[in-house]
């Protein structure tokens, strides 16, 4: 499935994905699909841009995704809208799946999701009756303690309606950061070598041992989100982490429950931060290694639809910094394992030869065609890669799709008397990730700056006697931050949302780090509780924010005017 | 008399020849008092600006004019409240109109155009000497004796003043008669 294909979809089921803020250029395709006559169903607790133009907006309560999907499957099953031939020939485990969804009548789901049963029926019928339907999902599915279940259930929804293997159908994640796909492709995963080759597979291990000339471990590594636990709580000395080599990331800002992260970083024996700008994590680093930024080095990114594209050195980096790969190679060499490359192409050639699915994606081809979507197995110039991944067959042992769903599990931390509102993180369209790059761009900074906003329903604001634009204090048992109130009808009563780009309005002071999806280890960024408090002395609050900002910038190495002398 | 529904003029493309007599008559009638337009062409001193617009397709033609919608998009779009209802009809207050063109784009029929207006036989000017241009659309000749001029002058009787109230009543009676004939 490719991004451009979205435009030609007959029906788009947009689930927990806010393209307008996270990928405007993908949202553009959704808008164009709508213009071309596509039906749009949007499941999102907020009125996102996609929800706004949707034919049906399923404004479900946060943390109830699977109940909604199960209920839609229930309607399709009970109303005989299934593609029985497809189920019979192309799938397994249908009966077990049906056993679970039977319970999820729309009326039952309504009690969980707060979406009217009739609307669920309407959406299910629309989805099932569409000639082809495409599911796009995003972090609104993934960033929950129950995430992989939902992805599989959405896959089952597509399976039972035969929505695979034809154009503009299937199910596609639209991933957040620019090179998430690439980091996964390259094996920056505790269980996979590059090219999704499992570390526990002896044949794979042997291949890499031969290529790299060393013995390799077959023990699955530690997922990033387990780091705090492995540092702070692990009793087994063999499992405890002592050193942390962080490159191009800022967990002290981006990870959930940053108070816990800070404690983790403090407790670690040795922290290496390799980055381009000072950041919150660097405050805990024992060593800081300056590297080159995007636009200062060559390489390849993988975009969200598996497309390898070149990045090129646009300007010369400062003379005193090195590229990431050079730094790592030098450390490795100093530690006795020699790594030396002339350029990124040499690295690339080494790695694609180790990964059958990437083997044909040479620099030459990427240059020539602009983009190569893997799998691309042959170096022959005619192998231009693969647009559709599931071409009639599923990438399972028997080539069949596997039905799966699960019972709904509520989020770990629910609203209560003390913290009566739900709290979720979302994206700021004009800023990227932890904002070290975009926060240093004039125009993007001018458009949106600290201390960010908390989106709240006007009725909730009224109850708290808060006006749009007021500074408010947001808190729960893990922490608090100060931010501005954005009173908007686009969020439901009782729910609040903050974008995670703000350092002062830092929402990850509140998020939970401990409720991870058991399979993906993704934290539950999208659900916890909070309380919003009115601040009576707004002037003092602004002074506080301004001083915090000043202090923060000073800690980040910015010299204020007059400070130099 | 106030109608339950507004009336409007509708053209019949099977009769219309596209002669523009309606446009000219519309202009003439609306500019008699303000701009000294008399009976003949020579009395006209400003550009002809009608309130209905002859439209030609490949196969036929007809003038397009306001339908005096019951939930009028133009009226709803106007931020200046320069479009109002008078005896059920949708009327543009040309004094209030600032020429923002919202109504033009809101109208699904293409019945509104932004056109200059005259005053005492000359194009009306604004402070900067630029010509005043306002939304122009059918007002059903509301202050004009004899009713819609376009209907009166059409040489082919292609224009009709549609009165939805009477139309519905007539159709109802016909239907009732049909029900009578087909009774069981």
């Amino acid at each position: 499935m490719g991004v451009h294909e979205i435009e030609d979809a007959k029906l788009i089921f947009n689930f927990g994905y806010n393209g307008a803020d996270s990928h405007p250029i993908v949202q553009r395709r959704i808008v164009r699909a709508k213009q071309k006559g596509a039906t749009i169903i949007c499941a999102d607790p907020r009125v996102t841009e996609a929800a706004r133009i949707a034919d049906v907006h399923l404004q479900l309560k946060g943390g109830t995704n699977i109940a909604l999907v199960n209920a839609m499957c229930n309607v399709i099953y009970n109303e005989g809208l299934v593609d029985q031939h497809f189920i019979d020939t192309m799938s397994v485990d249908y009966d077990a799946f049906v056993e679970i969804i039977k319970k999820y009548t729309p009326e039952y789901a309504e009690t969980i999701c707060k979406v009217p049963a009739e609307l669920i029926r309407k959406a299910a019928r629309m989805y099932a009756k569409a000639p082809s339907a495409m599911i796009l999902y995003g972090m609104g599915v993934c960033q929950f303690g129950q995430a992989v279940d939902v992805v599989k259930a959405l896959g089952s929804l597509a399976l039972m309606t035969g929505n695979y293997g034809k154009p503009a159908s299937g199910i596609g994640p639209v991933r957040g950061q620019n090179n998430v796909q690439g980091a996964c492709d390259m094996g920056a995963l505790p269980n996979n070598y590059p090219g999704y080759q499992n570390v526990t597979n002896p044949d794979v291990q042997a291949k890499f041992e031969k290529a790299w000339g060393v013995k390799l471990s077959n023990k699955v590594g530690v997922p990033l989100t387990h780091v705090p636990q492995r540092v702070l709580e692990e009793k087994d000395p063999a499992k405890k982490l002592h050193a942390y080599y962080i490159f191009g990331e800022d967990p002290a800002q981006s990870d959930p429950d940053v108070a816990e992260i800070r404690e983790t970083l403090e407790k670690l024996d040795f922290v290496i931060v390799q980055d381009i700008f000072m950041n919150k994590t660097a405050e805990f680093a024992d060593v800081i290694l300056p590297s080159t930024s995007w636009n200062e080095h060559d390489g390849v990114y993988s975009c969200c639809d598996r497309g390898f594209q070149r990045i090129r050195k646009v300007v010369e980096p400062p003379s005193t910094v090195k590229t990431d790969w050079e730094i790592i190679c030098e450390i490795s060499t100093a530690m006795g394992y020699k790594m030396k490359y002339k350029n990124t192409e040499e690295i690339w050639n080494e790695l694609i030869d180790l990964c059958p699915n990437f083997a044909g994606a040479t620099y030459e081809k990427i240059e020539k065609y602009g983009c190569i979507q893997w799998p691309c197995r042959s170096k022959d110039m005619n192998d231009k890669g693969t647009v559709f991944l599931h071409n009639g067959k599923f990438a399972t042992a028997d080539g069949k799709g596997k039905f799966y769903t699960a019972e709904w599990r509520p989020p770990q931390e629910l609203e209560n008397e003390e913290y009566p509102l739900s709290f979720s993180t979302v994206r700021e369209v004009g800023h990227y990730s932890v904002r070290t790059m975009t926060g240093n761009c004039r125009m993007l900074r001018n458009l949106e700056d600290e201390p960010g906003w908390i989106q709240m329903n006007p009725a909730d604001c009224e109850k708290l006697h808060i006006k749009h634009g007021d500074l408010v204090k947001v808190m729960n048992k893990r922490g608090w931050c100060i931010t501005r109130c954005n009173a908007t009808e686009r969020v439901a009563k009782g729910a609040t949302y903050m974008t995670y780009q703000w350092w002062i309005g830092c929402c990850n002071e509140l998020t939970i780090g401990s409720n991870l999806d058991p399979v993906s280890n993704t934290p539950e960024y999208k659900y916890c509780n909070c309380r919003v408090e009115k601040i009576d002395d707004q002037a003092a609050a602004w002074d506080y924010v301004n001083n915090e900002y000043k202090d923060l910038r000073s800690r980040m190495g910015i010299k204020m005017i007059g400070e130099e002398a | 008399m106030t109608n339950k529904y507004s009336c409007y003029v509708l053209a019949d493309p099977n009769k219309c020849t596209g002669c523009k007599a309606c446009e000219l008559a519309c202009f003439a009638e609306h500019n008699k008092s303000n701009n000294g337009v008399g009976y003949t062409v020579g009395t006209v001193t400003i550009p002809v600006t009608p309130k209905l617009y002859l439209t030609k397709t490949k196969a036929y033609c007809m003038p397009i004019q306001c339908r005096h919608c019951e939930d009028a998009p133009c009226l709803n779009a106007c931020q200046k409240h320069a479009i109002y209802r008078e005896n059920s009809q949708v009327i543009v207050d040309q004094e209030k109109c600032i020429g923002c063109k919202d109504c033009v784009l809101a109208c699904p029929f293409g019945a509104i155009a932004i056109l200059p207006i005259g005053e005492k036989g000359k194009l009306k000017l604004q402070k900067d000497r630029e010509v005043v241009k306002v939304a122009s659309k059918c007002d059903l000749c509301k202050d004009i004796e004899g009713g819609p001029a376009c209907v009166r002058v059409c040489p082919n009787d292609a224009l009709e003043l549609v009165d939805a109230n009477a139309d519905i009543e007539a159709k109802n009676i016909k239907t009732a008669e049909g029900l009578y004939v087909s009774r069981i």
Binding site: P24, V31, G430, R445 | N14, T57, K101, G110, Q126, K127
Partner: protein, 181 residues
């Protein structure tokens, strides 16, 4: 007829690229070189998001501008068919803000200017269709979803003409049916 930029809420995704495009066009590319606090960030269009609508709002360049009529110092003028505020002569009286029914004018401070008491001048600010840049409105150019259109006389004619033809086609169907009767 005066041109104007029109946003289409069906296409707009609320990203505000238009607002930045506006600032960059008016302040010039020098802003990427100078002190980050040394320029004005005064977009001349404003993203509006309600529960149902996302769309930037800006000056309609009315044919008979209420702002122009309201300005006591005649600093709102028509230049190249665009209604433009001469901010050098604006006294900041807000009459135009009051007069404009679209909220298309706001008041902004101008960095580097001062009045007699030393405080910064605050003047009216609104879309000028990027007159004088020769590139046409920047907002239209940068919008990633083509949600903004420069409506000129031709474009307006085209839109209205299409509607009229559609109306005529509908009337034809109606008339034919009537004839059959």
């Amino acid at each position: 007829m005066r041109k104007f930029v029109k946003g289409n809420p069906d296409l707009c995704i609320g990203c505000r690229t238009c607002m930045i495009g506006c600032v960059v066009e008016h302040e010039g590319r020098r802003i990427f070189e100078i002190d980050p606090d040394g320029y004005d960030f005064n977009p001349r269009l404003h993203m509006v998001k309600t529960a149902k609508i996302s769309v930037p709002v800006q000056c309609k360049h009315c044919e008979n501008p209420a702002c122009m009529a309201a300005c006591p110092v005649n600093c709102i003028k028509v230049i190249n068919d665009a209604v433009v505020i001469d901010t050098d002569s604006c006294i900041g009286c807000k009459s135009c803000v009051q007069a404009c029914p679209f909220g298309a004018i706001d008041m902004v401070s101008k960095i580097g200017t001062q009045q007699a008491d030393g405080s910064m001048r605050v003047v009216a600010n609104k879309c000028d269709l990027c007159v004088g840049t020769g590139n046409g409105p920047a907002c239209v150019r940068v919008c990633p979803t083509s949600a903004l259109t420069l409506v000129d006389e031709e474009k307006l004619k085209e839109v209205v003409c299409d509607k009229r033809v559609a109306t005529a086609n509908a009337a034809k169907v109606f008339a034919d049916a009537k004839e059959v009767e």
